[in-house]
């Protein structure tokens, strides 16, 4: 054990550390501009297409078919994450990239309550079930 760690433990009267995880709820996270920029990159869409490893589509097939007629826009599956940048506040809320994007029409939004879904995911993550 490192000398400084041992000295700290001695001061605290402890013999070992307890590791604490700082797991934030996703809905409470800061919206960094980098996150927003990534969500606007259509190449990330295949993560949604093949969310389960081994059960999705080969990257090339996804990329080749992304522009097929009648297909949803490639970034559409990430609307759940993306929509967080459409609200007020957040580090990325005023970016030029957002200004260039048209406002999502109601039919483009996912039918479910996205925030509730994200809250559920965060809860599962907190419980270690995800």
């Amino acid at each position: 054990m490192r000398v400084d760690a041992k000295a700290l433990l001695d001061r605290l009267g402890k013999s070992d550390f307890t590791y604490r995880e700082f797991a934030d709820r996703f809905s409470e996270l800061e919206l960094w501009p980098l996150f927003e920029a990534l969500l606007r990159d259509t190449r990330l869409a295949q993560l949604e297409e093949g969310a389960e490893p081994g059960h999705g589509i080969v990257a090339g097939a996804v990329a080749a078919s992304a522009g097929a007629p009648g297909r949803e826009p490639a970034h559409q599956p990430f609307a759940a994450l993306f929509s967080r940048y459409e609200g007020d506040g957040g580090a990325g809320s005023g970016s030029a990239a957002r200004a260039a994007e048209p406002e999502p029409t109601p039919h483009e939004l996912p039918p479910q309550d996205v925030r509730m879904l994200l809250r559920q995911l965060s809860e599962l993550q907190r419980k270690g079930e995800l």
């Binding site: 996703f26 800061e30 990330l44 993560l47 093949g50």
Partner: protein, 244 residues
């Protein structure tokens, strides 16, 4: 032989650490494992408590030159990235045959061409990333069919995770949401890892209670079932297991 490809989008992510510990975990579960590094400057021996002067035998070297650590045959072939027939050589030497052995390939980030060539032959591809802006920024390129290295068999492991840091915490949460089931594990930042390297000891011996050690073991448990799946290029014999 199941091929487990370890390749990351950038250097310094701990790819070799993860490859070494995946190999160790697979051996503990009864697999016959060969671990091959293709780096010209190879730090792989250090992860097995071997001194820096250790020179690992080439891929084609005979058994008399083998370096075996914890039951793993360690190899190094820095010529592989420049060898257009490397994948064919793997096949010719039986490394891609159906069987009960596992070949863990530690491919340096810069050897993207080799990783792309091997991707269709791998039953699993583990990309190790720190939860950092640089790693995030490279994700779109890494997933790009023309430029990157990503397939249906690719998964991500977050490494050197320190969730006491705000940006790291947020980045990790973002990756969790973004990657979903593709994120198969996280390894916490742990000073015991470099200390074990400096001590020329296995991490499991130097710090049995290491957080990183427990995390990488959990990662191995998540990755191991993937080795039962067929590669993208071919099907395996049904019912055949990589575990002896």
């Amino acid at each position: 032989m199941a091929l487990l490809l370890c390749h990351s989008s950038k250097g310094g992510t701990g790819n070799t650490f993860v490859a070494a510990h995946l190999a160790l975990a697979l051996v503990e579960h009864g697999a016959d494992v060969t671990l091959l590094s293709t780096a010209a400057m190879d730090s792989l021996p250090l992860h097995f408590g071997l001194p820096p002067s250790t020179r690992l035998p080439g891929f084609n070297a005979g058994a008399d030159r083998a370096v075996v650590a914890s039951g793993i045959s360690l190899r190094n072939d820095p010529r592989a990235p420049a060898d257009p027939d490397f994948a064919a050589t793997l096949r010719d030497l039986g490394f891609l045959d159906n069987g009960d052995r596992v070949l863990v390939l530690d491919v340096a980030a810069g050897d993207l061409g080799l990783a792309r060539a091997l991707l269709p032959l791998a039953r699993a591809h583990v990309c190790t990333l720190p939860a950092a802006p640089e790693s995030l920024s490279l994700l779109p390129d890494y997933l790009d069919i023309e430029r990157g290295c990503w397939s249906d068999h690719s998964v991500v492991a977050i490494n050197m995770l320190d969730e006491t840091r705000k940006l790291t915490r947020h980045t990790a949460a973002f990756l969790r949401e973004l990657l979903g089931a593709r994120l198969v594990g996280r390894v916490r930042r742990d000073e015991a890892v470099p200390e074990a390297l400096a001590s020329l000891q296995y991490l499991s011996r130097y710090a049995p209670a290491s957080a990183a050690l427990a995390d990488v073991a959990a990662l191995a448990r998540a990755v191991a079932p993937m080795l039962e799946r067929p590669t993208l290029a071919e099907q395996i014999v049904p019912g055949r297991s990589w575990i002896a």
